[in-house]
Subunit: 151 residues, 4 copies
């Protein structure tokens, strides 16, 4: 992965505050762990409320934390007065999500002025075992001079 | 869209029971509305718990009901003793999800023995206005002779 | 599909000239057929040079005409002084491409100022039979005040 | 990337013969370079016939060699009596393809009995400079007891 120089030195606070303003992440019980330039990790602990009919993590919940991890990986590199929207994402669920928690590792592949491309790998973690269960690629758009908070 | 003949005449009950076994749909507050051969509609009422930082429906919640609508559209056509898993999906979020509720309309494009392809359009509904806000294409796999319930 | 008002009344000539400037379309033997606001059809006649090891149309050739059909569907709606680039596309090949020719039907789903989303369905045509063999969704970017010709 | 044990010790010959049977790769002028278990590289030299209107590599040609690199990376791991079909692929073109040649590096992420998931990165190479210009994720299906040659 390339090394990135953040446009906003205060990027970590900005990203953490934005994540905290997403009620859906609270609904899921997802937590923002590491935040570095171009790279973010989001953890989703196992609980019945995020599962599907076989007791695995629901594919939609896997997609949701992948979406957040990629979006915030991009947002670390955006200027201070901006916000981020997801243009599109695609996700392959290679094995059903399983374990004590999932961790979605989002990394920026290309940081353009308007569009940023991020890759997210999602791992299921059970004890010391870490299994790649999904991979996603995302296109994010930077909206300049737009607040990241609700109007 | 092509007209489909379901392999299992009792498909509607099977689909509704499976949906009811997905705790994540309850967490979201999503409801399964119409269920016909090759076509399913899932509704997500607006509530703070499914929103992002601007107060719109979270892209991950949009993806989650799209995933369910496509998966269950496929499952209507599967044989009685089978289950469904999502192989992959991709979603374009064309406008931020907004309105009193979202409706995800999942339709099967191609029903193969192993793989089924579904398209899902997600609309935001505000009063009498219905806006296409996202579109998704999905690949689903049919696992024969596998229970749709947890072991 | 929504009805679109082209920004440039001379859109058809602009699209046809741009297509003619793509040597790769000549290499494939692809032809631009209908061009209307937000909708374009590209035909690929069968010939050995565009096939894979089983004698079907190569998935990469299917993807290439889909890419062109979606890109030019978007370009019909762009202003006169602009060009188009593909941000990303995804394609499901539902049945191997077969027949006397393929036709890729590209239609704009959403026409934004910066980004346009198009859907492309690719059909194999054999005699009077038309089979949906692939479907694609694409994200296109409009570069304003940039020539569509090489520098 | 995980290390893979090929099911067929004669995988390299099988892959190279299959590639040689794809007339479309000859049309493009694409060459199969390295072939190791779960990993394949395909090179596309620059020539006018694979370009778009600005003189860059056409997005459809980028997608075509990515499709080949991912499909053959999967095929290295398939049993002797089998063939491979592309179920779907998605590709982000991050910068327009440029340089003396493109190289598509396909790597298997997950090798299942029926489905295999591959990732492909495409680089533009100009002198000693190598630029990541596109990334693709693909779903491939293994058809057992089916010849890889035309009937």
């Amino acid at each position: 992965m390339p090394a990135f120089e953040p446009a906003d030195p205060d990027f970590e606070r900005r990203v953490r505050e934005s994540f905290a303003r997403q009620p859906f992440m609270t609904t899921l019980g997802a937590e923002l762990v590491t935040v570095t330039p171009g790279r973010v990790e989001v953890v989703l602990p196992y609980q019945a409320g995020v599962t599907q009919q076989h007791g695995f993590f629901h594919g939609g919940a896997v997609g949701a934390i992948a979406d957040s991890a990629g979006g915030y990986a991009a947002f670390t590199l955006f200027p201070a007065a901006s916000t981020v929207l997801t243009v599109e994402y695609k996700i392959n669920i290679m094995v059903p999500g399983n374990g004590e928690f999932l961790v979605a590792v989002g990394e920026v592949l290309r940081n353009g002025r308007t569009l940023t491309i991020a890759r997210v790998d999602v791992f299921g973690v059970a004890g010391s075992k870490r299994t790649l269960c999904a991979t996603s690629t995302q296109t994010l758009i930077c909206l300049q001079n737009r607040s990241d908070s609700p109007a």
